[in-house]
């Protein structure tokens, strides 16, 4: 395609935007509104995801080793644990560490006297890369030699996993809803332009314009609406999020929950890419749908 043709096609698309100012603005506003609702769930979801990740990092499985294990056995066990899929790290816990841990848990009085005859077993503290692999990893560890037993907070882990799954499902549902609503809005806007220009389209067909030549300006129009709503929404969400997160940080609620909110700039790249992708995709799909009928001349 020659350069002037591309100019012409994009120029026509931009002209369309200004010809139907009312419908362009209304579809921009509705697209923004739906994108902001999605953004709300998106930032909440991202925060919960990061929370879950933090918990996952902190969540340890203590693998207690039986007393018959030699030093080589212990070292080999450590290597074998590390080679299991889903294991992030395995840290050795010596008898002394184990005693200190128990002291911390139960208080000095109860443990008193055990310093001289330390009955605690050595262990590995295993952390996971993905909490969902918890059960598989434990099963694999159980099959290794010299493993006495495993101590972990299974219930907490499974609750966190189901929470994270729930958030992901809701976000995906909202996303699908957003796409359906936005595609129908854009396709309606473009339909108005197409309708207003149906005479021109029929002339183009008679003169021998290819369908893609006719379609491009309308695609450009849809895509521009999509991109502008995407950018506007990211801006609005960013401002609102930074404001609300700032207010929340002043309260003690988050501190109690050991929850540090993500900063918007941490999510900015992802959100921008997702929104531009959505805007372009929705714009193109919407105008594609509205064009189909008019191309059959």
């Amino acid at each position: 395609m020659r350069f002037n043709v591309i100019n012409y096609l994009i120029g026509e698309g931009i002209k369309n935007l200004f010809k139907n100012k009312k419908s362009t603005i209304s579809s921009l506003m509705i697209m923004c509104a739906t994108m902001i609702v999605f953004g709300l769930f998106f930032v909440i979801g991202e925060n919960i995801n990061s929370f879950v990740e933090n918990v996952a990092e902190a969540q340890e499985i203590r693998v207690i080793i039986d007393n018959e294990a030699t030093e080589e056995d212990i070292e080999q066990l450590g290597n074998e644990i590390l080679s299991i899929e889903g294991v992030r790290n395995a840290e050795f816990v010596s008898k002394e560490d184990a005693l200190d841990y128990m002291k911390e848990m139960l208080g000095d009085e109860l443990i008193e006297g055990y310093e001289d005859r330390n009955i605690f077993s050595v262990a590995y503290d295993v952390t996971l890369t993905d909490l969902e692999l918890n059960n598989e990893v434990q099963e694999s560890i159980n099959q290794l030699p010299h493993v006495k037993n495993i101590v972990s907070a299974n219930q907490v882990i499974s609750q966190i996993i189901s929470l994270a799954k729930g958030v992901r499902t809701v976000t995906a549902g909202i996303l699908i809803l957003l796409i359906i609503i936005s595609v129908s809005i854009i396709s309606n806007t473009i339909k108005l332009t197409v309708h207003a220009r149906r005479k021109e389209i029929s002339i183009m067909k008679y003169v021998g314009a290819t369908n893609s030549f006719i379609r491009w300006p309308f695609l450009v129009e849809g895509i521009i609406i999509g991109i502008i709503s995407g950018l506007l929404s990211v801006g609005i969400i960013g401002l609102a999020y930074t404001g609300i997160a700032g207010k929340l940080a002043e309260t003690s609620f988050l501190e109690l929950a050991h929850w540090k909110l993500l900063e918007f700039k941490d999510m900015f790249n992802l959100i921008l890419v997702v929104y531009l992708g959505l805007g372009i995709g929705i714009g193109a799909l919407g105008s594609g749908i509205s064009m189909r009928k008019y191309l059959e001349v």
């Binding site: 020659r2 008679y206 003169v207 021998g208």
Partner: protein
């Protein structure tokens, strides 16, 4: 150039608009398609433009059977024809020049080619002085000239005109017909669907009569109603 072989066209409603039509229009010919409204003239034009598909039979244009032409090739078929309609179909928000240049944009002509070709065609139809005017500032005859210029600008091998004088007064109608005749003399095939009886009678060109979907008469140098 244009050949119909046993072409039938039945619409979904059950109307049989064209029944077993066979004729051949040679390169460089001037042919009238005549008949009352509802006789099937418009359907014949639509079949040539491939706006409608025949129910049976074959249509051969420029040596190519268009019956099984893929939809994405249709635009290229249409570039070999210039089309003129009764209602002109000009774009009201574009000037005379832009209306004609538009047809060249669509076929992706270079700006240089457009700048050279458009004034040439406008002078051919006698509208050189009105290039910057808008369609609503022109008379009906002038608007139809613009439409003709647009049809000609891409150098088609044929001009298909569907009732080109239907909206014009008799004098202007003659202007347009003379212009079509002039275009024909330059070697372009011209097919005109019309019911302008006196024009057809006087021009002594080939006349294909169609009545109720049937081609009833094909006069080499005919008049409008030589006993149908």
């Amino acid at each position: 150039m244009i050949e119909f072989k046993n072409v039938c066209k039945k619409y979904g409603t059950g109307t049989e608009a064209v029944k077993n039509a066979s004729f051949k229009i040679e390169k460089g010919e001037f042919a009238f398609l005549v008949g009352t409204s509802g006789s099937g003239k418009s359907t014949l034009i639509k079949l040539i433009l491939k706006e409608e598909e025949p129910s049976s039979g074959n249509i051969i244009i420029n040596g190519k059977d268009t019956t099984f032409l893929k939809p994405n090739r249709v635009p290229y078929l249409r570039r070999s024809m210039g089309v003129v309609f009764q209602d002109f179909r000009l774009l009201p928000d574009k000037t005379v020049y832009e209306n004609v240049a538009f047809a060249m944009y669509i076929v992706k002509a270079t700006p240089k080619h457009i700048r050279r070709q458009v004034p040439m065609v406008l002078s051919l139809v006698g509208l050189s002085g009105k290039a910057k005017m808008y369609p609503n500032e022109l008379s009906g005859g002038e608007q139809q000239r613009v439409a003709l210029a647009r049809a000609l600008v891409n150098n088609p091998t044929m001009i298909i005109a569907d009732e080109p004088t239907g909206n014009l007064d008799p004098d202007t109608a003659w202007d347009i017909m003379n212009l079509l005749n002039e275009i024909n003399l330059r070697g372009t095939t011209v097919v005109v669907a019309t019911h302008a009886k006196d024009i057809v009678d006087q021009m002594k060109k080939r006349v294909i009569h169609i009545n109720k979907g049937v081609i009833v008469k094909d006069d080499r140098k005919g008049g409008y109603d030589c006993e149908i």
